[in-house]
């Protein structure tokens, strides 16, 4: 059999290219992607900036959806954490979207994860949307291998 080394090179380089382009979703919200400390900071921001519409218990109201519970988690299930971060960053607070800093938005997101009983870890949540793409929002805890 005659091997075309040029062909192999093309295939290998294409594979490497595809690997580089593929989304690097290697973690989920079950992997301890924020810290307790960050969630505490987020709680303060939440109560000051978000609770008037979403409720101090995050149960929502007529004006805003709940940020805890099954319906909330189903809304974001399967998306990346950057989708949720961007929703906060680009549209919240509704009175003046983008008024909060990235750090505040990330802290609020950490608080939401905490309230929804996703575990805390040792490193803080990223505060850049691009970096949050690697973290998947999984409503259901994955089975252990």
């Amino acid at each position: 059999m005659k091997i075309s080394w040029l062909g192999v090179a093309v295939i290998v380089s294409s594979f490497c290219f595809l690997r580089a382009q593929a989304p690097a979703e290697t973690r989920s919200v079950w992997d301890g992607v924020y810290t307790e400390e960050q969630a505490k900071r987020g709680e303060e921001v939440y109560q000051k900036e978000c609770a008037a519409c979403h409720g101090d218990m995050l149960t929502g109201g007529e004006s805003a959806p709940p940020l805890t519970g099954g319906a909330f988690q189903a809304n974001w299930n399967g998306l990346s954490l950057s989708d949720l971060f961007d929703r906060i960053r680009k549209t919240m607070p509704q009175s003046k979207p983008g008024r909060l800093t990235r750090q505040q938005d990330a802290d609020v997101l950490a608080f939401l994860l905490n309230i929804n009983k996703f575990p805390a870890g040792k490193t803080e949540l990223y505060r850049q949307s691009e970096m949050l793409k690697e973290i998947r929002f999984e409503a259901k805890k994955p089975a252990k291998n």
Binding site: E43, E44, Q47, K48, E49, A51, A52, C53, G55, D56, M57, L58, T59, G61, E62, S63, A64, P65, T68, G69, G70, A71, F72, Q73, A74, N75, W76, N77, G78, L79, D83, L84, R87, T91, P93, Q94, S95, K96, P97, R99, I115, A139, K140
Partner: protein
């Protein structure tokens, strides 16, 4: 294409008009039958949400595909995630409200092509409005020559547009505008710019009168016992001149004033009609579903029955004069606003024809009256109800309870309602419920105490039951179809109001937690909104669920078919896929749980010749479809599901249908979570595809 900008005092009007030839549509309109159109918010002024179309039917519903779609992100200075509109389709053009600016758009109903757009920049007045975002819709009027579109802006101005161009009609009001904060028999306080009053529902037009109600902020934690009043008015659709006003809180000397003790009618406000008004043009009668007076859960500053709070009122179309009324709830304490359009139905009871009006409600009673006389079709005896113990409160000792039809959703909470998938879950639910006061419909709120009760656990109250989407009605079979939340639990507790927050003695709250002023739908969410107030941190977070599972057992949400000739529920089905949190629960693995329906309060139904159609209002991810929601069709005779089509986001506005050039379309508003507002039109594939 051209653009035009007009300065009008402090209000800036921006009207972009993209005009294309409407000639083909007008030519088509000359030969069309009315059954193919949707000329009013609820299809007609009888509130039926019914069209006898049948091209889309049980055999092909699942074949539906998207004909066109339009995102509403750019119809305002920020995207909207709560698109609640139902479009109109009349004379070959589709009209809708859209976006955080509450713009009006005109579209080609076959292609979705934008024909024109109209937007009002209201500045601070719009930003301070209690009911913002895109609203629920608009009204159409024509005398055969002129065609007009009417809608109410967030800043509470009635706008009249030329339906062909989207330009204001100069001869209506002042340059196409009636300032609804004026001509209202009251001084809106504190001022016209920031005074609390608005409206998110669609105006209704009957003959040559356009009618509007009023809405306010969320009423659970009002800042004051005093507020502006929600009167209802009729205006001449040609000139904008006020024709009549109905005082939903009677003035001194008017009927019902004495139901407000200690002069409380003078300062109490709200009591508006924030939902849809229905009209019988032939009888010349208007049906007003009135909401609660100021302070949803505490009436200690408004002793008495409080007419016309939570009352169905019939008034004369020409004069606004009261013909009859029936108070559904005396001295409102549960936020049981009459929340949806009264349904006008010509039925046959005991072999006698009756012109009836049927009123769906949050509390799950369908109240049915003779719509000429106001007499109940079936007895509604006053029955004793629990009297509470909140200091300073005044209680009605009885409430009218319809003997027929039976309640179509849970309207109280008992141990038997709690989750029972397993005995252990029931026990844990009982433990949670033990912190609250339980009881049947009209169990009053309690003062919230740390040692218990934290409040009264209720269902069929603030959320409903049936909320603003209301029901549908088939005039051929005399059946009402109505969605209801069957699991929307509302804990109602009262706490002394901090003096820096409210002048009421009590407002809604939970012992041990800071009082939180709740905002109304869309408040501070629309264009030009100010920033929210500061808030102190809370100390604890309690969820009314058991390991994420709903506290009560299924069905969580239902559609009921109710025969109005007999006053009987013909069928009742759970509506909506079982929520992910239940379907995927480890605790329930291996159990065979039938479809549960979903916990939500904003599902609207549509009835056609053979189908009842309704979307899901929650997202699920299943083996059959990716993350999204389904628009479902049921055989209207049996309730059996006959088809479903995928939507990328939940139904957030009630569906409508029309037929043009031989094709039937269904349009539905979707939005929520990560998905911003979008109208989607479905139709069948063309022959041969």
């Amino acid at each position: 294409m051209f653009s035009r900008m007009v300065r009008n005092g402090s209000l800036r009007l921006v009207c972009w008009v993209v005009m294309f030839s409407l000639t083909p549509a007008v030519a088509w309109a000359q030969n069309h039958p009315k059954d193919t159109e949707w000329p009013s918010y609820a299809a007609d002024t009888a509130g039926t949400r019914y069209r006898p179309l049948d091209q889309i039917n049980a055999s092909n519903f699942s074949d539906l595909e998207i004909a066109w779609r339009i995102k509403t992100d750019n119809f305002g200075d920020r995207p909207e995630y709560k698109l609640e509109g139902t479009p109109l389709m009349v004379n070959g053009v589709l009209y809708a409200t859209a976006g955080s600016r509450r713009a009006v758009i005109a579209l080609d109903p076959e292609s979705g092509e934008l024909l024109w757009i109209h937007g009002e920049h209201e500045g601070k007045r719009g930003g301070a409005a209690p009911r913002q975002l895109s609203g629920r819709g608009l009204a159409y009027w024509s005398d055969g020559v002129d065609e007009r579109i009417l809608y109410v802006t967030p800043g509470f101005r009635l706008i009249c547009l030329d339906a062909k161009t989207g330009q204001r009609v100069p001869s209506f009001g002042e340059n196409g505008v009636v300032d609804l904060k004026r001509h209202d028999d009251q001084e809106i306080f504190p001022d016209l710019e920031t005074g609390e009053i608005g409206m998110q529902s669609a105006p209704v037009v009957a003959k040559d009168t356009v009618m509007v109600g009023a809405a306010f902020r969320e009423g659970m934690t009002p800042k004051s016992m005093r507020n502006n009043k929600g009167y209802v008015r009729g205006f001449d659709v040609r000139t904008g001149r006020r024709l009549w006003i109905f005082h939903t809180i009677p003035r001194k000397g008017e009927f019902g004033y004495d139901t407000w003790l200690n002069g409380s009618a003078e300062y109490t406000g709200n009591t508006g009609v924030w939902t849809q008004i229905s009209v019988d043009e032939q009888l010349g009668l208007v049906y007003l579903p009135v909401e609660s007076p100021t302070s949803d859960f505490y009436g200690g500053h408004r002793h008495g029955d409080n007419l016309f709070g939570e009352t169905l009122v019939c008034v004369d179309l020409k004069t606004g004069e009261r013909k009859w009324h029936f108070q559904l709830v005396h001295h409102a304490l549960w936020d049981m606003d009459i929340s949806s359009a009264p349904i006008l139905a010509d039925i046959t009871v005991d072999k006698k024809p009756v012109k009836a009006v049927a009123q769906p409600t949050k509390q799950g009673f369908l109240y049915v009256f003779d719509r000429v006389t106001g007499k109940p079709i079936w007895p509604m005896p006053e029955k004793p109800v629990e009297v509470g113990t909140v200091p300073g409160e005044w209680y009605s000792h009885t409430q009218p309870i319809p003997s027929k039809p039976p309640a179509y959703n849970r309207n109280g909470v008992s141990i038997d309602d709690l989750i029972d998938f397993t005995p252990a879950l029931r026990e844990r639910a009982k433990e949670i419920a033990s912190k609250y006061h339980l009881g049947p419909v009209y169990t009053p709120p309690t003062v919230s105490k740390l040692e218990g009760p934290l409040g009264t656990l209720t269902m069929g109250t603030a959320s409903g039951g049936t909320n603003w989407p209301g029901g549908s009605y088939d005039p051929e079979t005399h059946v009402v179809y109505v969605y209801a939340c069957n699991s929307c639990i509302e804990p109602i507790g009262l706490v002394p109001a901090p003096k820096d927050i409210s002048d009421l003695n009590y407002i809604a709250g939970v012992a041990g937690r800071d009082v939180q002023i709740m905002r109304g739908p869309g408040e501070n969410a629309g264009a030009d909104s100010p920033k929210p107030p500061k808030k102190r941190p809370a100390s604890q977070y309690v969820r009314l669920d058991v390991d994420g599972l709903p506290l009560v057992k299924p069905p969580y949400g239902t559609i009921s078919a109710i025969n109005l000739d007999k006053g009987e529920i013909v069928w009742q089905i759970p509506h909506g896929e079982t929520p992910d949190v239940v379907r995927n629960a480890e605790l329930l693995k291996g159990m065979n749980i039938p479809r549960t329906g979903q916990e939500t309060y904003n599902v609207g139904t549509l009835v056609t010749k053979t189908l009842v159609i309704a979307g899901e209002a929650q997202v699920t991810t299943t083996a059959d479809h990716p993350r999204g929601a389904m628009l479902r069709a049921y055989d209207k005779a049996t309730g059996k599901e006959v088809g479903a089509v995928y939507m990328p986001a939940p139904e957030s506005g009630s569906p409508m249908t029309y037929m043009i050039h031989g094709k039937q379309y269904i349009v539905v508003a979707v939005s929520g979570g990560p998905y911003s507002g979008e109208y989607i039109a479905y139709t069948l594939p063309s022959a041969g595809e």
